[in-house]
C-alpha cells in the first residue's frame, strides 16, 4: 500500500493520533503547536483528496481491511472532499489566527485539554463527512458534539456554561433522534453502510418504518444544523465561546449536520421512498423561508455583534435548506456551494470580530463607534464579509445565491415566489450589515469611551485577510467550489456527469 492509498484514513488518523499526545505532553506552547501541525497536515491531505475527487472519482477505503457491508468503509466523493477541505481549512485558519487570543482566553493550565478537544472536534467533524457508514456518523457526531461543548464552555464569560448546557440538551436530542432513525433503518435492512442502505431500503415492502426513520433522522439533523425553529441553542453558544472557537464552529460545525442531511436524504431515501422530493420540499421550504426572515429580523434588532452574526447564520442556513429542498442539480449545487462559501464568509467575519474584541474589549455594536478609522483593515475585512452575506457580485455569496435563483426559476410560480423571498432577505441583510457599518464608520466615539488607536496585531490581521481574499478568489475562480459541488449534486441525483 502506498501513501497515496492511505490518504483517506490519514485525514482522521492524524488528528486522532495527535489528540492524546497533545493532552499528555504538558509543555509550554506544545499543545497549540501539535494541534496546528496536525490540523494543517490534515488540511493538506484533504486538499489532495479533493484533487482526486474533482475528476468525479469516488474513493472507497476499507477500514481494517473488511469489505463494505461487514466492515466500515470511508467513502470520499466530491461532496465529502469539499466538506473535509472546508472543515480542516477552517480549523487551521482559526488555530493560527487564535494563537494569541486563545493563549489569553484559555490559560496555561487548561491548554492541553482545550487543544485536545479542538483536535477531537476537528476529527469528529471530518470523520462524519468522510465515513460511509450510518452508525459511524453517529459515533463521530458524539465526538464532535462533546468536544464542541468543551470548546464553548472555555469561554471567559460565566454565561458560557449556561449556553453550553442549552447546547448539550439540544445537541443530545438531535443526536438521539438520528440514532433512533438509524436503528429503525437497521431493523428493516440489516445493514449500516450508506451505499448498501440506499440499495436495500428500496426493497423494503412496508415502508412505514422507513418513513418514521426518515422523519427522525431529518428532524434530528435539523436540530443539530440549527434550522430555524430549532436554532435556539446557537446564538448564545456562538456569543459566549472564545473568539477563535466561534470562528471555527461558525464556519464548520452546523454545515456538517447539513451535509449529513443531504447525504442521508439523497443517498438513502431519495431512491426508495415515493414522492420523497415532495416530502423534503414540504419539510424544508417552510423552515427555510421562515429562517430567512426570522434570522434576518432578529439580526436587525440585535445589539451584540457576535449574536448578530449568529442570527445571520440562522438566515443563511435557510438558504442552504431552500437549496436542498429544491431537489434539482442547480439547487443542490447552490446549497453545497453556499455551505462552502458561507463557511468562508462567516469565518472571515468572526475573525474580524475577534480583532475588534481584542481592542475594544466588547462586541456591542454601539461601542464600536469610530472603528472604521481606528482599525481600517479589520473593518474593511468585516465589510467584505458583509457584502458577501448580502450577495453582492464579485463576492462568494453572489455565486451561491445565483445558483439558488437559477434553481428557483426552474420551479414555475412557486419558484418566482422563492426568488422574491431570496431578494427580500438579501435586502434585510443589507440592513443589518449597514447597521454595523454606520456605527463603525460614521459615528464619533463617545466622549467617555477609551480611545482605540491601534490596529489589530499582524498575526491576527494576516490570517483574516487571507481568508477574505480566499473568499474573493473563490468568487472569481469557481472551478474548485462549483466544480466539486456540481459533481456532488449530479452524483447525488444520479444524473450523468
Amino acid at each position: 500500500m502506498t501513501l497515496y492509498d492511505q490518504l483517506p484514513a490519514l485525514v482522521v488518523a492524524v488528528l486522532l493520533f495527535t489528540a492524546p499526545i497533545a493532552y499528555m505532553l504538558r509543555m509550554h506552547g506544545f499543545p497549540w503547536a501539535a494541534a496546528t501541525a496536525a490540523v494543517v497536515t490534515s488540511f493538506i491531505v484533504a486538499c489532495s483528496l479533493a484533487a482526486t475527487a474533482i475528476g468525479g472519482e469516488t474513493i472507497i477505503y476499507e477500514m481494517g481491511g473488511w469489505p463494505a457491508p461487514y466492515g466500515i468503509v470511508l467513502h470520499i466523493d466530491a461532496l465529502s472532499a469539499l466538506m473535509a477541505m472546508l472543515i480542516t481549512g477552517a480549523s487551521s485558519a482559526a488555530l493560527i489566527f487564535g494563537a494569541k487570543s486563545l493563549a489569553d482566553e484559555v490559560g496555561e493550565e487548561t491548554a492541553p485539554a482545550f487543544f485536545a478537544a479542538w483536535l477531537l472536534c476537528t476529527a469528529g467533524l471530518v470523520g462524519m463527512v468522510i465515513t460511509g457508514d450510518a452508525f459511524n456518523i453517529f459515533v463521530f457526531m458524539e465526538i464532535s458534539s462533546l468536544s464542541t461543548y468543551v470548546l464553548i464552555s472555555a469561554g471567559p464569560d460565566r454565561r458560557a456554561l449556561i449556553s453550553t448546557y442549552r447546547y448539550i440538551v439540544m445537541g443530545t436530542v438531535g443526536a438521539t433522534f438520528y440514532l433512533i432513525g438509524v436503528g429503525f433503518l437497521y431493523m428493516v435492512t440489516g445493514t449500516l453502510n450508506t451505499a448498501d442502505l440506499g440499495a436495500r431500503v428500496g426493497q423494503v415492502e412496508d415502508i412505514r418504518l422507513v418513513l418514521v426513520a426518515a422523519g427522525f433522522v431529518s428532524v434530528g439533523l435539523a436540530v443539530k444544523a440549527a434550522v430555524f425553529p430549532l436554532h435556539s441553542w446557537m446564538p448564545n453558544a456562538y456569543t459566549f465561546a472564545p473568539n477563535a472557537v466561534t470562528v471555527f464552529i461558525a464556519a464548520a460545525s452546523t454545515k456538517v449536520s447539513l451535509y449529513v442531511l443531504i447525504r442521508v436524504d439523497y443517498a438513502i431515501f431519495q431512491n426508495s421512498i415515493a414522492n420523497h422530493e415532495v416530502q423534503l420540499t414540504l419539510f424544508l421550504v417552510p423552515l427555510g423561508v421562515m429562517a430567512l426572515f426570522a434570522g434576518s429580523l432578529l439580526a436587525i434588532y440585535e445589539k451584540n455583534l457576535k449574536r448578530l452574526l449568529a442570527y445571520s447564520s440562522v438566515s443563511q442556513i435557510g438558504y442552504i435548506a431552500l437549496g436542498i429542498a429544491m431537489t434539482s442539480v442547480a439547487g443542490l449545487t447552490g446549497a453545497i456551494v453556499h455551505m462552502f462559501n458561507h463557511g468562508l464568509i462567516k469565518g472571515g467575519m468572526f475573525m474580524a470580530v475577534a480583532c475588534l474584541a481584542l481592542r475594544y474589549r466588547t462586541v456591542n455594536v454601539a461601542n464600536l463607534a469610530g472603528a472604521g478609522k481606528a482599525m481600517p483593515w479589520t473593518m474593511a475585512a468585516f465589510v467584505m464579509g458583509g457584502l458577501g452575506l448580502i450577495g453582492v457580485p464579485l463576492t462568494p455569496g453572489f455565486i451561491s445565491k445565483w445558483y439558488l435563483v437559477l434553481a428557483a426559476l426552474e420551479k414555475g410560480w412557486l419558484g418566482a415566489l422563492l426568488v422574491a423571498v431570496i431578494l427580500i432577505s438579501s435586502l434585510l441583510a443589507v440592513i443589518y450589515v449597514w447597521k454595523v457599518i454606520e456605527v463603525a464608520y460614521f459615528r464619533e466615539p463617545r466622549a467617555n469611551a477609551v480611545p482605540v488607536t491601534e490596529e489589530a496585531p499582524m498575526v491576527m490581521l494576516i490570517p483574516t485577510w487571507i481568508v477574505v481574499l480566499t473568499g474573493i478568489w473563490f468568487a472569481l475562480d469557481t472551478s474548485v467550489s462549483v466544480g466539486l459541488a456540481s459533481i456532488a449534486a449530479k452524483t447525488l441525483l444520479g444524473v450523468a456527469l
Binding site: 486522532l16 485536545a116 462533546l146 418514521v212
Partner: protein, 330 residues
C-alpha cells in the same frame, strides 16, 4: 415464550420506575430509583441474551453511576427546583413521538424471529467467518474489536472527550470554602475509616474486584466482557478503596495525573495499533498484518486494543471520581 414473559414483566417495571423518576422532586430519590432502573435494564438485557451489554450496564449503571450521582448531589441542592409551568408542550411532544414510534414498530419483526431481515444480511456472515478469520469464540468481541473496530475507536475517543469535558466543568469552579479547617474537615467527611465493618470488608474485597476486572479483560475473547467492562470493574475497585480509606489516600493510590494520563494513553494505544498496521502495509486498524499469520495478528491486535479500551475506561471513571471527591465535600 419464557423470554417474552420475563421481558414483559421487567419492562413493565422499567416503565413504572422511569415515570417515578420523572415525577419525583427529591434528587436523592431519583438517584436511588435510577439505580433500580439500571438493575432492571441489566436483568432485561440478560434475559434477551445480550450478556456483554448486561455486564456493562451492571457495572456502570448499578455500581459506579450511583457513586458519581451522589458525588454530584453533594455539590448541589437536594431538591429539583425546576418551575412547574410549561410542562404541556414537552409532554405533548414526547407523547406524540412515543405514539409515532409505537405506530412504526407494529410493522417491526417479532422478537427473536430468525427470519427477520436483521438476522439475514450481515449477521450470518459474522457468525460464519469469525472462526475462520479471527478465531475468537465470542463473536461480539470479534465484531466490536475488529470488524467494526473503527467504531470502537470512535467510542474510546468519545470517552476521552467526555473526560476532558467533565474535567473542564469540575476543574473550573473553585472548591467551596468551608469554615472548618481544611484538615479536620477532610478527616471527618472524607472516609469511612472509623466504621470497622465496612472498612474491613471493603478493603478485603478490593483485590477481588480488581482481579475479577483483569479476568474480564483477558477473558473477553471467550465469554462476556472486554475492555469496557474490565476498565469499569478496576475503577470500581479503586473507588471502593477511596470510599473506605478516604479520597486523600485514594489519590495517593492512583494519583490524579496518572489517571488522567491513563485516559489519553488508552486512546493513544488504540490509535497506535491502527497506525502500526498502516506502517506495516495494511489498512488502518487491519490487525492481520501485525503478525506473520493473519489470525494471529488479529489476536494480537484485539488484545492490545482491548487493553487500550480498558485503560481509557478505568482512567476516566477514576478521574471523574477523584474530581468529585477533591471538591472538599467528601
Amino acid at each position: 415464550m419464557m423470554t417474552i414473559v420475563f421481558s414483559l414483566f421487567l419492562l413493565t417495571m422499567l416503565v413504572i420506575v422511569a415515570v417515578a423518576i420523572l415525577r419525583t422532586e427529591n434528587l436523592f430519590t431519583a438517584v436511588m430509583l435510577s439505580g433500580i432502573f439500571s438493575l432492571i435494564m441489566a436483568a432485561n438485557f440478560f434475559v434477551l441474551d445480550a450478556a456483554d451489554v448486561a455486564l456493562t450496564e451492571a457495572v456502570i449503571g448499578a455500581g459506579i453511576s450511583t457513586v458519581l450521582f451522589l458525588g454530584a448531589l453533594a455539590l448541589t441542592a437536594e431538591y429539583d427546583r425546576s418551575p412547574p409551568v410549561g410542562t404541556w408542550v414537552p409532554l405533548l411532544t414526547s407523547s406524540a413521538l412515543g405514539g409515532v414510534i409505537i405506530f412504526a414498530t407494529f410493522q417491526a419483526p417479532r422478537l427473536g424471529d430468525p427470519s427477520a431481515i436483521v438476522h439475514q444480511h450481515v449477521a450470518p456472515w459474522y457468525l460464519e467467518k469469525t472462526p475462520e478469520l479471527i478465531d475468537v469464540p465470542n463473536v461480539v468481541t470479534a465484531v466490536l474489536a475488529s470488524f467494526r473496530g473503527y467504531d470502537t475507536l470512535g467510542e474510546v475517543f468519545v470517552v476521552f472527550t467526555a473526560c476532558i469535558g467533565v474535567m473542564a466543568l469540575l476543574g473550573r469552579v473553585r472548591p467551596r470554602r468551608d469554615s472548618i479547617k481544611e484538615g479536620e474537615f477532610k478527616k471527618a467527611t472524607d472516609n469511612l475509616r472509623h466504621h470497622l465493618i465496612p472498612r474491613v470488608v471493603g478493603k478485603m474485597l478490593v483485590p477481588f474486584i480488581v482481579l475479577f476486572g483483569l479476568y474480564v479483560q483477558f477473558h473477553g475473547d471467550f465469554g462476556p466482557g472486554g475492555g469496557f467492562q474490565a476498565g469499569a470493574l478496576v475503577a470500581a475497585g479503586v473507588i471502593l478503596y477511596s470510599l473506605v480509606e478516604g479520597g486523600v489516600r485514594g489519590r495517593e493510590l492512583v494519583p490524579e495525573w496518572f489517571s488522567s494520563v491513563l485516559v489519553a494513553l488508552g486512546a493513544f494505544t488504540y490509535t497506535s495499533v491502527g497506525v502500526a498496521s498502516m506502517l506495516m502495509g495494511g489498512r488502518f486498524l487491519d490487525y492481520s498484518v501485525l503478525a506473520h499469520d493473519p489470525v494471529h495478528g488479529q489476536h494480537l491486535g484485539i488484545l492490545v486494543i482491548e487493553a487500550g479500551v480498558g485503560m481509557t475506561v478505568a482512567g476516566v471513571m477514576i478521574t471523574i471520581f477523584h474530581a468529585f471527591s477533591r471538591r472538599g465535600i467528601r
